[in-house]
Structure formats: C-alpha cells, structure tokens
C-alpha cells in the first residue's frame, strides 16, 4: 500500500528563505503522526504543500501515491484539512455550515455530521461565531471528518483550547481513527497530548527533517548515556544532545554504542522532542528510512 504521505526532496522558498528544504519522509497509512518543531520550522508549509495549497519549488509529495499537482481531484477527495485557527464562516449557523459541507463534498456523511453535533450538544441553529472555541474546533473537525477522508491533516488543532475542550477534541479524533482507520497528521506543541495520541513522530527544524519514524522504533533507539565527562568522546552513535556536566555528563544518543563504565537509560517522548528542538542541526537524515506499513 502507498504511504499516506510521501515527500521526496521537497522544498519551498519564500524569497531567499527556504521554509521547507530538501525534505524526504514517508508516513505509512493508519498512523497518527505528530508533526513537531519550533515556530518557523516549516510545519504549516509542509501541511499546505501536502494538500496542494502551495506548489513546491523542488521535489514533490504524494498522498496515497497521487500528486496534489497532477491529480488534485483524486487528492482532494481523500484528504481532510483543518487549517490553523480553524477558518469558519462566523455568521453561518451550525446547520448552514454543515449544508455547505454537504454541497461541496460528494462523499459527505450528513447523518454522521448531525449525530456528532447532537452528541457534543452543539445547537444546530446557533451562529458559529457565538460558539465557544472548543465547539468551533469540533465543528471544524466535523467538517473535515464528514467528507470521509482517508488522510486528515490538522494544523495546531488544539492550540488555544482549554484542557477539557482539548481532551474532548482528541477523544472525538481518536474515536474517528478507531472507527475508520484513517491516517492523521497533526502539528502540535503539546507533548503531553501527543504522548496519548501519536504513534508516529516527525520533527522539523529550520525547514529540514530532523527525525521521523514510528514511536515504537524511535523511542527504544534513543538512550540517555551517563558517564564521566572526560570520556564523552568515546560515546558511539548519533549524538542528539551533548552533555554539559563537567564531571559526569548525560548525552542523548540515537543508536548508541555504550562505552564500558557508562549506563544507558530510556528516553521519554518529551525528552526526545525537547532534545531535538534544542539542537536543530541534530539528526537531519539524508533519506527516509523504510518503515513497515
């Protein structure tokens, strides 16, 4: 089966600045992939390239094997996209918003959309602008899910939501994944949320890919190595974050070779993400790794 999203040498430039540069990755179908990186790392640009809202300057990307440039209708039929800040028509009522969805999408599932609104106790006759941020986020999600996408892309979907609204949103999202087996790619800064929902991780830094893969494989591949600072040069593997201790140091290493006398400790998702974010030149794999579907 084709990857849900595949990019090869993908690049996008604004003037002389590369927002995304020489990016190659492959997200297998069925994953919930977290897209992580500091502001300006290229997350939004990557999502917009993936759905065809932007045209790349180099390389290309495909959705289930289809290029958004050469086969836009095939791609659009397969994807749902919730843009940052969830653009909605504030004066439309909820019912009118769903009607718009129905008119625009041939595969639209109106019963599912209405049932979702009922379950969340969102009144259909209310203007969208008068709903809470959490409810607006749920409507944006319902719009994207009711077109029955195979790949759902969400740009910072839970930013600015209170913890309860965030939990409700992710619960709806995960229930949809369980029911339909769709692939999800979501960008977020909230590592605690990602720990619950994500099984695949993509970290961007400065427009480049730092690391990507299934968490089941990525987490055990990384270790904290703890040992005498004077011997730090003997640590083998890819150093993500060097130690700073003068006598004893902690080094975060990918695929480590542990020197004698050093101890290795497991790495949490939060440690992993923070280490890569703090060290934007770490990783930067030249090619995507083969990930079993």
């Amino acid at each position: 089966m084709n990857p849900a999203l595949e990019a090869t040498g993908l690049g996008k430039r604004y003037g002389s600045t590369w927002a995304v540069r020489d990016l190659s990755l492959s997200v297998p179908p069925g994953r919930v992939a977290a897209l992580v990186g500091p502001n300006g790392a290229g997350k939004t640009t990557l999502l917009q390239l993936a759905v065809g809202l932007l045209t790349p300057d180099t390389g290309e990307s495909t959705v289930f094997g289809w290029s958004p440039r050469r086969h836009p209708t095939l791609v659009l039929a397969r994807i749902g996209f919730v843009a940052q800040d969830r653009p909605l028509y504030r004066r439309f009522t909820v019912a009118e918003t769903l009607r718009m969805g129905r008119e625009l999408n041939p595969k639209w599932d109106q019963p599912m959309a209405e049932q979702r609104m009922r379950r969340l106790e969102i009144p259909l006759e209310r203007p969208v602008g008068r709903l809470s941020g959490g409810q607006q986020a749920q409507i944006a999600l319902a719009l994207a899910l009711s077109k029955r996408p195979e790949l759902l892309l969400l740009d910072e979907p839970v930013a600015n939501l209170d913890p309860l609204a965030r939990r409700l949103f992710l619960s709806e999202l995960m229930a949809a994944v369980a029911a339909d087996g769709l692939t999800v790619i979501l960008s977020s800064h909230l590592v605690a949320d990602l720990e619950r929902v994500a099984d695949h991780l993509v970290i961007l830094g400065g427009g480049r890919l730092q690391v990507a893969g299934d968490l089941d494989l990525l987490l055990p591949e990384h270790r904290w190595l703890i040992g005498p600072a004077a011997e730090a040069g003997r640590v083998g593997g890819t150093v993500v974050q060097a130690g700073t201790g003068e006598r004893q140091c902690r080094v975060l290493v990918r695929r480590p070779r542990v020197p004698p006398g050093w101890t290795a400790e497991p790495v949490s998702l939060e440690d992993l993400v923070l280490a890569y974010l703090a060290n934007p030149i770490a990783g930067a794999l030249p090619m995507p790794e083969a990930v079993p579907a």
């Binding site: 409700l168 619960s171 369980a178 605690a192 720990e195 619950r196």
Partner: protein, 131 residues
C-alpha cells in the same frame, strides 16, 4: 467492566498501564473469567488515546493468557487467567491491612518505612511470585 485511567507522568507506557490495570482487577477478583473488557473504541474515546495503544495492550493480555478475544463479540478475561481472590476474602484482607497501616502510622512510620517493612516481611515469608 472496568474504567481505565492514564497517568502520563508515571513514565510507564500507556499500553502497559492498561495491561497492569486489567491484571490488578483480575488479581483482586474484580474481574473474573468470562467478564468482558471494554471495547477498544470505548477506551479510545474515554481516554482520548491512540486506538493502537488499546489493541497492543489487549494483544499482550491475550498472549500471556489473561484475555481472549472472540471475533465480532469482544475481548474477555480468559479461563487461563490467574485466579483472583474471592471478593469477601479480598475485603477481609484489605480491612486487616488497613488496621495494620493505622498501627504503623501511629508508630510513626512514613510511606517509605512502611514499604520497606512490607517488602522485608514479604521476602522473609517467601511468598511466591505468580506470572
């Protein structure tokens, strides 16, 4: 049926927490062979977690003989699961433990001291480990 909960700060992976909670419920006699475990989609919606996490937990429970799935029906506590104590016995044991803990507190033992003492007694009594 049991409610799962998740502690994301514990350092224990989410799927292991679900495995442990089922095992604990079976050991305490709160779940017995034939009892249905919550459907994966119910756990997913209740905890807002990745469906694969629940599937992984259930697969592990099946592999180790704690659970068995019947296609299209659900996942159940297996006949091969270790026998838990009888609920009445369980309650009685908890009551006597509480009395003992009160005595320990009155004697000025803190959490760590109680744990150390309990572990010592457990090792000395040679209580066997199952599973």
């Amino acid at each position: 049926m049991i409610d799962f909960h998740l502690d994301t700060r514990s350092g224990v992976s989410a799927y292991m927490q679900i495995v442990h909670q089922v095992q604990r419920a079976v050991r305490c006699g709160l779940l017995t062979p034939g009892d249905r475990l919550p459907a994966a989609r119910e756990v997913v919606a209740a905890l807002a977690i990745n469906p694969n996490t629940v599937l992984k937990a259930y697969t592990e429970l099946e592999r180790d003989g704690w659970a068995a799935s019947r296609a299209g029906v659900g996942t159940f506590v297996a006949e091969t699961a270790p026998r838990g104590v009888d609920l009445e016995v369980h309650d009685r044991l908890v009551r006597s433990l509480r009395t003992w803990l009160r005595e320990a507190a009155e004697a000025g033992l803190d959490h760590d001291a109680v744990e150390a003492l309990f572990t010592l007694a457990l090792d000395a009594a040679g209580v066997k480990r199952v599973a």
